[in-house]
Amino acid sequence: MEINVLTFGQVTDITAETSLKIPDVKNTDELIQLLEKTYPALKSIQYSIAVNRKMIQENTMLQNEDTVAILPPFSGG
């Protein structure tokens, strides 16, 4: 079981990678917990989560090879 994680904007600043591989997580809550443990600065910013390009609002089960994208808001114009 492996999940692909894509990062954007300030999330990439924190993870230092635009793409990560995360093993052994069952759902998005577990994934976020793990990421926040590895990258504590994630706790201080806001972001939205998409599973296989669909924005989610609640905990979502993950399958092997799913792609989770983490998108922060920004407001430059």
Partner: protein
């Protein structure tokens, strides 16, 4: 030039099979408002004017600065210090004099937003801050106007279309379905601090104009219920589909009167950091505007507070009383020490997500200390 056919200038697009003079007529009739004549606004304005959109409103209260010229392509060195909206309209008018360019050299606020936006068919958001983005989003929802969203930072941009029903699925989404609440002010970067490669807003702003033209003319598939993230460095486009948030999470003002009373600066600023207000903030707020102050202590609890006027609603009957509250003003709730009032604010926000309620940090005890101190120190300060 008067003798030329009105379509001649647009020949290269009217010759397109899916476009023709029918689409051009729709552009002639269309009214588009561009919020912000900056990095995104300039290219969007230029291409909308080039395409022949009949009325293009320009709203911006900023003046042109030297550091704008790296990306804001409508302005020259000699324009520095002059108002963006006016200069943009003047340049565009000489470029395409057949178009009307209403100029709004004002800050977009709840009190003027609805009367400005209701004159337009579609809005392009090229603003550079969260309060304006949430305000534009909410105003478009209330007035049922499609909104073409775009934003940039460093080498990344986002593009989307909100409040436009997807004819295939019937679904309708907005910015708050992605980001229900603004980020903490301390956690976000602006282009001033973090930078932006000048060509990037050129790309995203031009794409916003393209989406507007698609929506107006009905060609192709607009990006409704989706946002696209574009990374200039890697040339990657990543598309996200959005679904409407459940009503329970929806915290936007649902009526015009709620909208008029919604303080976007506050929503995106201090209020985001916590639901607590310090004594200093409370004092400043009280001087600035009319607020509702509520004491939730039980009758007879001491000390008696005579420094401010307030309404007394004891906690024991608070829940039944809240439904009759007027949610027009900001509310500051206090108790003895500032603990119970936090619970009261939480309850209020659950029942009325758009109300602006704050708990007074430290409660009456802190307030008494503050007034005691300021009454002692004020003669010295004033001397």
């Amino acid at each position: 030039m008067e003798s030329t056919n009105k379509y001649q200038r647009y020949h290269r697009q009217t010759v397109l099979k899916k476009f023709g003079t029918a689409a051009q007529d729709k552009l002639f009739q269309a009214k588009v408002l561009v919020v912000g004549a900056g990095g995104l606004g300039c290219p969007a304005l230029q291409y909308l004017a080039a395409a022949g959109v009949g009325t293009i409103g320009i709203i911006d209260f900023d003046v042109i600065e030297l550091t704008n010229l790296q990306r804001q392509t409508l302005f020259n060195i000699e324009d520095i210090g002059k108002p963006k909206a006016e200069i943009a309209a003047r340049k565009l008018n000489s470029f395409n004099p057949d178009i009307q360019f209403p100029v709004y050299n004002v800050k977009l606020e709840p009190k003027n937003a609805l009367e400005i936006i209701e004159n337009y068919d579609l809005v392009i958001d090229g603003s550079d801050n969260f309060p304006t983005r949430y305000l534009v989003n909410d105003a478009c929802l209330l007035l049922n106007k499609p909104l073409v969203y775009g934003t940039v930072l460093r080498f990344e941009g986002q593009l989307g279309v909100f409040n436009l029903t997807d004819i295939e699925t019937g679904s309708l989404t907005n910015y708050r379905d992605i980001f229900p609440k603004p980020p903490l002010p301390s956690s976000v970067l602006s282009c001033d601090q973090a930078g932006v490669l000048g060509v990037l807003p050129g790309i995203i702003g031009t794409m916003q104009a393209a989406e507007a033209i698609k929506i107006i003319t009905g060609i192709g598939k607009p990006l409704c219920n989706k946002i696209v993230s574009y990374n200039l460095l890697s040339n990657l486009f990543y598309e996200f589909s959005i679904s409407a948030a459940k009503e329970i999470n929806a915290t936007f003002p649902k009526t015009k009167s709620e909208f008029l009373n919604f303080d976007y600066e506050w929503f995106c600023g201090a209020a985001q950091e916590s639901n607590e207000i310090t004594i200093d903030e409370f004092d400043a707020l009280r001087k600035k505007e009319t607020i509702t102050i509520i004491d939730i202590r039980e009758k007879g609890e001491l000390p008696v507070l005579d420094e401010v006027s307030f309404t007394q609603i004891p906690w024991s009957r608070f829940e039944e009383a809240v439904s009759t509250f007027s949610k027009k003003n900001k509310m500051v709730i206090f108790c003895q020490s500032g603990i119970l009032s936090l619970t009261a604010v939480k309850l209020l926000l659950e029942k009325f997500p758009t109300c602006q309620a704050y708990s007074l940090k430290g409660g009456v005890e802190a307030l008494k200390k503050y007034h005691h101190k300021s009454s002692q120190t004020s003669p010295i300060n004033s001397g």
